[in-house]
Symmetry: C2
Subunit: 344 residues, 2 copies
């Protein structure tokens, strides 16, 4: 038996566009390997407007829209009323991939609340809702018999939340250290190659690794949100941004990089947390000099990595992509698989 | 509600002894965190004999036995009839940790068959049953409404089988490369430090990393069995040892190591497999020179690592312990958690 899930895509930027492409091109493979089909029944986006079709939206048509065009030509509207679509569209699952304000998780947080309250499961790659309200949202999901899944909030499609919650359950999690921002890790690598910071940032922007305003990446606030997500998921402890001392990489000069290299070490921007004997969690984000034998020292370029410190296994490290279109779309797909499993 | 599982320990060497210690010392933590209790109701071992107690064996007493003592003084027998105990003891789960013949998986394979046929779930750290008969045993488990779990067959407690089957499902597995034998990786590291192979083997033996006869480790046959387990688990393809060309590290001389270092590379013993477009899987075990940017190049000492090559995520690598008493006991505990989940 093949189950179908109707999906509403909230936000139609790179992430949900790629999910739509994946559904369009590999839907039959998904059905064969995973046992379900996916039908996109609604799309909203600030630029394109809103489009709802209970019979399934023509993905060829929406993916072929030129810049400046709207959904009006496809029978939709130019306005984008996210709340109405999320609450009323014929969708089992809401794929949330809009903008998040890093200070309060909005508007994505409201999108998730509306969806769960309306009895729809949510998959999202947004850090905001999970960082500021994971516990509330899981409880809201439970009350409504649905799921709130957000694997892509940390390390994109590389599974860390579900690795900790599943295969590593019972391992005795004591803490973690991670390289959780590919942009800053790339820039640090370019400093090692002798580049100045301004030049390295420019190169990262040219390659699509850094945004026009790279503050969240190099200032460390992106990592801090991910640490909040991890601390809640791994330890059940809710931290606010102010609880996590923050130092970015802006102070790491070529001279500091050279001095580290002379000692056989490398600067890495590390987000970390430790749970004390009393259950309290201490977390921080700051550049650290790592010796060459450290599991995170060899993580180069835009790759991300997370090292779990555990009671039974000592250090276990997973590394993989932390960004990218297909990689992030896979995060949503893996969330959908988890939603599917929860219904089976 | 807390469920209790009765466990029979088949083999009472390091692995099952440590599992017994874990149950004895952290049973209440397991009950609180995982929702089940574990009661050891049977133990068999060639040296100690057999002991069965439906009310729960006194773990303090069995763990205090001196070398040369048997279970007779505790009300057991000096003989060890594994088949009778496995088929008839009051056990929900059989923890299989005996010897395995690397050519056919015996006697562990028969132990697993008997257990599953008698309607008991099996957790094991033995490579043999999974390498030679995983498919048959899973089917036998299914027919009897129980589970066959063997996470510890590859990389000890570091989760790779369950990572691939769970959080990475649907990722499009194309192949893998792994450092799957800590002993040989340790020896290669000592060669890099300038040691000769005989001296490095001796040091590994002194530290407890290598057995008196290190042939299976340095000759690569241990890795080959693990590759067989992985190929079946990841691709559903059954390979025989003869299908996997095998070269160990015995031919890696200090001169070859120095020559690799001069090129900025390192020798690593790599077990790998690739699935072709036609679904056929090609696997091998051989030393390879890896450049410093390869995800496995930085894996030092006795640490193991597995790099998955995937369609959606590219390379995802997990590293962690591949041996050790508590690490391997955790593999069994994680199997028991999986058995518990399957009943919930």
């Amino acid at each position: 038996m093949t189950i179908n899930y109707n999906i509403a895509l909230i936000g139609f930027g790179n992430v949900n566009r790629t999910l739509a492409e994946v559904i369009r091109t590999t839907g039959s493979t998904i059905a064969r390997d995973l046992g379900f089909t996916l039908t996109v029944t609604a799309i909203t986006d600030l630029r394109f407007g809103a489009l709802v079709d209970a019979g399934g939206i023509d993905l060829d048509a929406v993916l072929a829209l030129a810049p400046g065009e709207t959904f009006v030509g496809l029978g939709g509207t130019a306005e984008c009323d996210n709340e109405t679509v999320i609450r009323t569209a014929p969708a089992d699952i809401i794929a949330e991939a809009t903008f998040t304000n890093p200070n309060n998780g909005q508007p994505a947080l409201d999108h998730v609340r509306w969806a769960l309250a309306a009895g729809r499961s949510v998959c999202t790659t947004n850090k905001g809702p999970a960082a500021f309200a994971a516990r509330e949202l899981r409880e809201l999901a439970r009350q409504n018999g649905v799921r709130f899944e957000y694997e892509g909030a940390v390390m994109s499609g590389t599974p860390v939340l579900r690795l900790a919650a599943g295969p590593l359950r019972g391992v005795g999690m004591r803490g973690f250290s991670g390289i959780l921002n590919g942009t800053s890790n790339y820039i640090l690598g370019r400093l090692e190659a002798g580049m100045g910071q301004a030049e390295a940032i420019r190169e990262a922007q040219e390659r699509g690794y850094a945004e026009a305003n790279p503050t969240a990446d190099i200032g460390g606030s992106d990592v801090r949100l991910k640490v909040m997500v991890l601390v809640e998921a791994l330890f059940g402890v809710v931290l606010a941004p102010a609880d996590i001392p923050l130092t970015g990489i802006t102070g790491i000069t070529p001279e500091l990089v050279a001095a580290a290299a002379a000692q056989g070490t490398k600067w890495k921007l590390i987000g970390q947390a430790v749970r004390g004997e009393d259950g309290r969690v201490t977390a921080s984000v700051a550049p650290q000099m790592l010796g060459s034998d450290h599991p995170l020292a060899g993580i180069t370029g835009v790759t991300n990595a997370l090292m779990f410190d555990t009671d039974f296994l000592g250090q276990v490290t997973i590394s993989g992509p932390g960004a990218g279109r297909r990689e992030t779309a896979y995060a949503l797909l893996s969330d959908i698989i988890a939603i599917h499993d929860s219904r089976a």
